[in-house]
Amino acid sequence: MRREKIVSKLRLALKLLNDGIWRHNAFVVHAVGVFPLVASGVTLKNAVMLSAVTAFVLVVTAVGVSFLGKGIARSIKWAVCAVLSAAAQVPAMLLADRFSDSTYTALEFTLILLCVNTLLYFRRDMVEVNKGPFIAFVSAIANGIGFAVVICIVSLFREIVAFGTVWNYKIPFGGWHHPAALPFAGFFTLAFLIAAYKGVLGLFSKPGKGDEK
């Protein structure tokens, strides 16, 4: 009986990982967190720092809220979510400041704003948060990785096109269009990434079983 429970939990965890990273990646399917992608997804270094902070904040918030229980009103859960994520960002920001002086300036304002955006994902994931700390943890990790994949691809592309560098190292090509670092280019890059994602997803989906919104 207990073994069955563990197996079913593991199955659910695998499904959540698949959903968060690939099949229902909130950042490409629901356009969650567009602001950090557009405004801060300019260099790979920024993207990696943002991804690490996002994953940390998501885990702390999700696990924290999962301890609240089901009886508490949704609006109170949201308020707790907001405060928890801002609290989780305090050590994350201090750590970012210590290890990466160059990226801190760019991250300074977006980190706190980002937490609000990452919160939005809980709008649909409250269900998973209600299933206990383990499921909440797996769901948060999956969404953290999902965000990391998206922002790293967007940032890498924009860094190559805008500056001709990768992780601030000069490469023999790129650096063609400096405006690629501006927010409007972020919208375009994200649009093409989502279109590519839909195309690839379409190849693997059975006809009539699309995941379109």
């Binding site: 609006s75 609000v116 939005l120």
Partner: protein, 193 residues
């Protein structure tokens, strides 16, 4: 008089010259969310404007109190997030109990409307741009109105975005983002020149 003109120019600045939504991407997720519900886009915008205005007013007083202490920026932001969470609960309470008609219409996306990066960007703008109380109120109102402008522009283009000639993979979110990118480019040019 000078203060009023200063406040008005600050408001116009965040609405047009540096439209917070289209030039910087603040509240872009909320904008896309609203685009799927065009019938209540203006009502959502009005609730958001109320939220950004109250946020601007509260932040002005919050700053007067907090600046007396030497607090590092992350903790400062955490304290304001606590204030924002309380404001959110008050807003939900007022809407649910007093403005029930509006609450029924906007309840589906109320959390996204009241807690998003646009609302939270108001304190940052006030910290750098506001000169006095009136200015911070104007920046709060302007932030909300910048969202309404973006929502109206996005709704206006919705019919063109549903064009059958749009390739299948670009239908929906991608074409919407491309349209937002074009609008963002327009506002960028507006700001530069």
């Amino acid at each position: 008089m000078k203060m009023v003109i200063q406040a008005l120019s600050s408001m116009l600045f965040v609405m047009f010259a540096e439209n917070l939504v289209l030039s910087h991407g603040h509240g872009a997720t909320e904008l896309i969310f609203v685009a799927h519900r065009p019938k209540i886009a203006l009502l959502d915008g009005a609730v958001l404007t109320a939220a950004t205005t109250v946020c601007g007013i509260v932040y002005w007083f919050f700053e007067r109190v907090v600046s007396r202490f030497e607090i590092i920026w992350p903790v400062h932001a955490l304290l304001f997030m606590i204030v924002l969470a309380v404001l959110y609960l008050i807003f939900v309470g007022i809407l649910r109990n007093v403005l029930t008609g509006i609450y029924i219409k906007v309840s589906r996306g109320l959390t996204v409307t009241l807690i998003n990066s646009l609302v939270f960007s108001v304190p940052f703008i006030i910290a750098f741009e506001a000169h006095d109380f009136l200015d911070s109120v104007a920046l709060g109102v302007g932030a909300g109105l910048s969202f309404i402008i973006a929502a109206v522009l996005l709704s206006a283009g919705q019919r063109a975005l549903n064009n059958p000639d749009v390739p299948e993979v670009f239908k929906g979110l991608p074409v919407q983002l491309i349209y937002m990118g074009i609008l963002s480019m327009v506002f960028y040019a507006f700001a530069v020149h």
